[in-house]
């Protein structure tokens, strides 16, 4: 079982989280102009990286906040944890895999926005 360091709650069991797929998949600027193929690629095509992979996670039984995580798909090393909307941290800084996860400021309180 993975021990995932939630940026709000600290390390928790993987069973408390939900996986949100690949991170940093941008919504197309103008979806109406896309061909069917491009739209299908946006919807269904994801990377299948061997090594460091940026993905989204939701701490569903804890603080119910989304965050991004850089995880090695081979070793399962969690290399970084960073808020939604932030660019993927530089690979060079996290390549060792043994560095402590970057615990950053709490994510924005989406729930409070009217």
């Amino acid at each position: 079982m993975l021990l995932i360091p939630c940026p709000n709650c600290g390390p928790r069991d993987e069973t408390e989280f939900h996986y949100g797929g690949q991170a940093h998949v941008a919504y197309p600027e103008n979806p109406a102009e896309l061909t069917d193929r491009e739209w299908a690629e946006y919807l269904f095509y994801r990377d299948n990286t061997k090594g460091a992979f940026a993905e989204r996670w939701l701490h569903s039984t804890g603080c119910r906040q989304w965050f991004n995580m850089l995880r090695d798909t081979v070793t399962y090393d969690i290399q970084a944890v960073y808020p939604m909307g932030q660019p993927r941290p530089d690979k060079e800084n996290t390549a060792t895999g043994t560095t402590a996860p970057t615990v950053t400021t709490p994510v924005s309180p989406e729930g409070a926005i009217k």
Binding site: N8, G62, C63
Partner: protein, 211 residues
């Protein structure tokens, strides 16, 4: 404020209601081992879900009513017998005695709604959303450790801490109210399952210790 007749009527209705784990009341009594580990339900506590940015103006107004809002995971703030549990960066659970509910002559959650006014956020009456199971005794943490992956060592998990986690495979809020007393807040539909799960986990302490 509700008028007296409405309040009387409301109190009459309250006597008819059943708490989610009331079915297990006798089983809790039978399964409790006095002085070792005891389980009971604390029914009908007033609960309100608060979603407000604690740093904003609305958050300050709500905080003034509740006696502060917790700032980080695990924190519990509040005044008197009203406690506010941290559920998320902008999400809190207020827990107060049953009499605090405005249907029984109290002020909650009306006072919170008034404090929030038209500020960004929400106040929702969640009194029927969760029930409260109180597990106490020197073996209480040993019982919880069977189904909760958190570090429950007294050095780490101190009284006055509440964490939203999984217990026995279901989501629940675990709140340590005193050195050997835990409140477990499962959602109403999970109450019976968790009650039975806790009874099963407590069963070994009823028999004499095998040397």
């Amino acid at each position: 404020m509700a008028d007296t007749a409405a309040l009387e009527n409301s109190k009459k209705i309250q006597t008819l209601r059943k708490s989610p784990a009331s079915l297990l009341g006798k089983a809790f009594e039978a399964g409790s081992v006095a002085g070792t580990v005891e389980l009971r339900e604390v029914p009908f506590l007033t609960m309100a879900g608060l979603r407000v940015d604690p740093a904003g103006e609305a958050g300050e107004r709500v905080g003034a009513v509740t006696g502060g809002l917790p700032a980080a995971s695990g924190e519990v703030r509040g005044s008197g017998d009203t406690a506010v549990l941290w559920l998320g960066p902008a999400e809190f659970l207020l827990v107060a005695p049953a009499e605090s509910h405005d249907s029984l002559g109290g002020e909650l959650p009306r006072a919170l709604i008034a404090a929030l006014a038209d500020g960004p956020g929400q106040v929702v009456d969640l009194s029927a959303n969760r029930t409260t199971l109180e597990l106490s005794g020197p073996r209480a943490s040993a019982v919880l450790e069977k189904g909760c992956a958190l570090d429950l060592h007294p050095r780490v998990f101190k009284p006055g801490t509440a964490l939203s986690t999984e217990i026995g495979g279901i989501p629940a809020v675990l709140w340590k109210t005193a050195e050997e007393t835990y409140r477990v807040l499962p959602r109403a539909s999970f109450a019976e399952f968790l009650g039975r799960w806790l009874l099963d986990a407590m069963r070994e302490y009823a028999s004499t210790e095998v040397p």
